[in-house]
């Protein structure tokens, strides 16, 4: 199934050739979860990431559906 992945802020470095704001189209198997997509785009396992699927915050084990857009954000905690 086809999904779109968008990387934000510092996570963009894992796909440096992707134009800013553009999504990466990925063909993944049925039952693929957010954390598997993270591995596929090169984000190291255990990295602290906020996952948003179709505009809604989701857990990293959230299972994706055809056509989903996965946006990945780094944690932001400075003040």
């Amino acid at each position: 199934m086809l999904i779109t992945v968008k990387l934000h802020a510092t996570l963009r470095r894992y796909q440096p050739d992707l134009p800013r704001g553009a999504g990466l189209a990925l063909n993944v198997g049925l039952g693929t979860a957010v954390n598997q997509v993270m591995a596929q785009v090169g984000i190291p396992a255990g990295a602290a990431v906020v996952a948003v699927v179709n505009g809604k915050a989701r857990r990293l084990d959230h299972v994706l559906s055809e056509g989903d857009t996965v946006s990945l954000f780094p944690p932001v905690a400075g003040g």
Binding site: H8, A9, A48, K56, A57, S71, P75, V76, A77, G78
Partner: protein
Amino acid sequence: MAEIGARLQALARATTDSRGEELWLVSLSGVRQVASEMGVSLREVEIAALRERVMPARYLRNLGTVGWEGQIALLQSTVGVVGAGGLGGWIIEGLARMGVGRLIIIDGETFEENNLNRQALCTERNLGQPKIEAALRRVAEVNAAVQIAAHQVRVDEAQMVQLLRGAGVLVDALDALPTRLALQRAAQKLSLPLVHGAIAGYVGQVMTILPDDPGLYGLYGHGELPEHGIEVQWGNPAATPMMVAAWEIQEVVKLLIGRGEPLRRRLLFMDGEIGAVDILQV
């Protein structure tokens, strides 16, 4: 109060507003004079003036967006600001200028040289001094009607509950994830809305969390959390705290005057590097 009203009427001067309607104004010196004559606080005089439909000139440019009753509500409100650093400094300044009547400010740190690039309250003269002292001094200079309860402590959840009781809205201007979650739990225990803001490099985020909302737990889950985010790699330049603090100030004002739509269950994530703002459902 009637006596204060009569005195204010005598000191007020008429002007016309942008629509050509008559508007009565009282100056800062007029407010000070009445407060001193009647032995009441500046804040009480300003509230009395607004009730008489005499506008303290200092709030004139608030009128169009907050209204008379909104300005009274601001002056009667108490806001708890936790953190007086990059975000907190601007937030304290903004809330004082808007005329939020009472602030509870909590910060246990002293200024370091690396704060100078972004922290509104940090100057070359007050390096090494408590941030709380600078906050007190700045608010007294900007708006002496604002009353402050200042606490120079590094707080845990129980202390937050204790110190922030009596506030109407809480503001997250902290700099570490676990403390932010502790503040959200404290806000839930106190049944208070919390305005969250956080920054790192070019990016920042804002969200208003009501006691029933998942808030930061909706973003980060209930598992173990890193202490810090990408601000460790990216640092904190000057512009981002100003931008996020400005959003936080606006959220607080909206909550206090009951106007507009808060960023509730919605995280505003801004990326100054590419000029993008995303709204995420939480």
